[in-house]
């Protein structure tokens, strides 16, 4: 069986390391990454190798077939997300290893939370069972809330509380949707639902609840209010993880469920409506990002905006013909991965800039280009991908979405892609303009440790590189989906 050991290791290993990091002496907690990162990287690559050689498979936990047992789905989409998570989390963990030396009070419990978060995310990528997804969402969500609260300042606690309330409300709506679906069809497996589901009020209400719950967790405009304080106010590596990966998990579930149930049971306007909310997010998030004075708040609002692009998936994939739908799938996933890489890089380099000038204010960045070119360079590279300039992942993603929009005759989404790019350029250049302004001639800024700059630079470079080599990852991501070949 392909991935017999590597698939369960993807969640069992982080869980075990999370427990282990509670048991070892504090000095050893961060060092567990040198055990965990190589092993998890190996497991992820082994799963990829299995996918490339044998194709998509189903992993039957406890050797029980669904719907009695819980199955895991190892297809291109899941493996792609796993690799993305491994790369981003590993680099953020290395960053945190150095960064948290200055935050001794927070370090103790950062590590167990990080491992649990990782286990939760890998659990979600692999899940095929809608109730199992609920438990996975809770593992990830509570770990994420704990990480936001780690600073224990009043602002951090309020942000964590607000995040927790949103997450709990979202989970309950999702759970109630699951309850209705189980009541109607007697199965929790997505494959089973796809076969059984028919168009009736129960399915519609269930799907509406699930979509609303997940929208709240993804922080799609206008349900985004919890995101900027939580992401903008957390410790830098936490901000990077939450913005790059955690919000993607709920979107991922939405994407999968939409392809299983969406077009058949929802009224026609639903897909367009989701797209309109996405457009609202792009404009509102971009505008708010431009108005921020704190660097990390700007980056956080940029996440609100970038989430919007992902939701163009729904109008572009629903009833638009196979070619346009495939382009929408490719483009959305490219945007998702490019944003994960670029946003992690952006948060980490923003953290470095803040460390350098000792202030979160954008106006205090004056003259920093002269003294800390490397931190600023990573910020710029990541910005290129967010703005969607060639040759970055963000560009490729937008290009594919643009083609899909033209092919399906939905020209109005072109406006969103174009104006959204301009808005991102506006807020990225706002930071640059300040940094290149002539400032003090003497270097008073602190030099961040090299590891911090290097991890940010790697993430930003991959965000660019993935745009140049988009063909292969997109081919893998399609495997096992309705857009796959064979």
């Amino acid at each position: 069986m392909i991935g017999l050991w590597s698939v369960p290791l993807l969640f069992a290993l982080p869980l075990s390391l999370g427990i282990l990091s509670l048991l070892v002496v504090p000095k050893w907690r961060p060092r567990l990454i040198f055990l965990g990162l190589p092993l998890l990287a190996a497991a992820s690559l082994d799963v990829l190798a299995g996918l490339a050689t044998v194709g998509p498979t189903v992993y039957r936990l406890g050797d029980w077939a669904a719907p009695l047992g819980i199955n895991l789905v190892v297809d291109g989409l899941a493996v792609g997300m796993i690799l993305m998570t491994t790369l981003v989390t590993s680099l953020c963990a290395l960053y945190a290893w150095v960064y948290l030396r200055d935050h001794p009070s927070s370090t103790t419990f950062f590590w167990p939370l990080l491992w649990f978060l990782w286990a939760g995310m890998n659990g979600i990528w692999l899940a095929e069972d809608i109730f199992n997804l609920y438990v996975g969402l809770e593992v990830m969500g509570l770990a994420a809330v704990g990480m936001v609260a780690l600073r224990a300042t009043p602002q951090a606690l309020a942000a964590a509380m607000r995040y927790l309330l949103a997450a709990l409300l979202g989970s309950l709506a999702y759970l109630l949707g699951v309850a209705l679906l189980y009541g109607a069809y007697g199965t929790l497996s997505m494959a089973g639902l796809q076969e059984a589901a028919t168009n009736n009020a129960t399915t519609q209400v269930a799907l509406a609840l699930i979509i609303l719950g997940l929208l709240l967790k993804t922080a799609l405009f206008p349900l985004h209010a919890w995101l900027p304080p939580a992401h903008g106010g957390a410790l830098t590596p936490v901000s990077a993880l939450l913005s790059a990966l955690v919000i993607k998990a709920s979107f991922y579930i939405l994407m999968r469920l939409w392809l299983v149930l969406g077009p058949e049971v929802t009224p026609e306007f639903t897909a367009q409506f989701l797209g309109v909310l996405g457009a609202g997010a792009v404009f509102y998030g971009g505008w708010m990002a431009w108005r921020q004075h704190h660097l990390k708040q700007l980056v956080a609002y940029s996440t609100v905006a970038q989430i919007g692009y992902l939701f163009l998936f729904f109008p572009l994939v629903t009833n638009t013909g196979p070619e346009a739908a495939r382009l929408a799938w490719d483009g959305t996933l490219m945007m998702l991965i490019a944003h994960a890489l670029a946003k992690a890089a952006l948060f980490l380099s923003a953290g470095n800039l803040i460390l350098a000038v000792g202030s979160p204010q954008i106006s205090h960045l004056v003259g920093i280009s002269r003294f800390r070119p490397m931190s600023l360079f990573s910020f710029g590279l990541a910005g290129v991908s967010l703005m969607g300039l060639p040759p970055s992942g963000g560009f490729t993603g937008k290009w594919l979405l643009l083609h899909s929009a033209i092919l399906s005759g939905q020209w109005w989404w072109l406006i969103v892609l174009f104006l959204g790019g301009l808005l991102s350029a506006a807020y990225i250049f706002k930071v640059f303009r300040m940094s290149f302004r002539e400032g003090p001639q003497i270097d008073r800024s602190v030099t961040p440790p090299l590891t911090l700059d290097v991890t940010a630079l790697i993430l930003a470079s991959v965000a660019i590189l993935i745009g140049l080599t988009a063909h292969l990852p997109l081919h893998w991501l399609r495997m096992g989906s309705v857009f796959g070949v064979g």
Binding site: P8, L15, V145
Partner: protein, 233 residues
């Protein structure tokens, strides 16, 4: 305020009506899961279907659920403010309560043990037994008993970790013949599930008790228990 009440009322009324409609319009199910559970029962190693679902058919859910519990304790530990947990802050100094406790505690422990054991053939199991165990601890704490031994961080953490580590460990060890994660061999399924349940009971009990105990009332703030109190200057 009135606007909010009206909006909330309309929204929740709308949701309720939609839910009612969903309940009424429910189609007849295609899949019959109870039948599948019934026919797989002989291979599950236990006699009670709920336990079979929780610890065999869908044991992965239970594994993640224990992780969620542990997470709550990690956050409670992280947000804990250093202060001693002294019994007199919370203890009700009541001789009658203490006398009753001396009788009640052993009884509670027996009930917890029974619930754990009963899980294999009738309603009961690790979570129920763990909750009763935790309740015994809470009661002891309220009666002014000293739970100072829980301040031993190493011991406490080992106890918290025990259940999940055993669960993952057994899930991995059974894979050696080349079967998927959590596939218990038929001959030993009953024993393995009992071992998992036993360790889970201890860990769940300790987890719930810790959640209660890690945040004692603040010694310097008598109004703490009353959340309606006026904001501090």
């Amino acid at each position: 305020m009135i606007v909010r009440v009206v909006m909330a009322g309309l929204l929740s009324l709308g949701v309720t009506v939609a839910l009612g409609w969903a309940v009424l319009d429910r189609p007849a199910p295609v899949e019959n899961l109870p039948d599948r559970v019934a026919s797989a029962m002989p291979e599950s190693g236990v006699e009670h279907p709920v336990t079979a679902v929780l610890l065999n058919f869908r044991s992965y859910d239970t594994l993640l659920e224990i992780a969620v519990l542990l997470l709550a304790v990690v956050v409670a530990l992280a947000l804990r403010e250093a202060q001693p947990d002294r019994p007199e802050q919370m203890g009700l100094d009541n001789p009658l309560l203490r006398a009753v406790m001396a009788w009640l505690l052993p009884l509670i422990l027996v009930v917890a043990g029974f619930l754990l054991w009963a899980g294999s053939y009738q309603p009961g199991g690790a979570f129920q037994a763990g909750s009763v165990l935790a309740a015994a601890g809470v009661l002891l704490r309220l009666a002014g008993g000293n739970l100072g031994w829980l301040d031993n961080a190493a011991l406490l953490r080992a106890g918290l970790a025990l259940g999940l580590l055993t669960f993952i460990g057994i899930g991995m060890v059974v894979m050696l013949p080349g079967v998927p994660f959590l596939t218990y061999p038929d001959a030993h399924a009953g024993t393995l599930i009992l071992v998992i349940e036993l360790t889970l009971t201890l860990s769940i009990g300790l987890t719930l008790l810790s959640l209660f105990r890690l945040n004692p009332p603040y010694a310097d703030d008598p109004a703490d228990a009353r959340t309606q109190g006026a904001p501090k200057p």
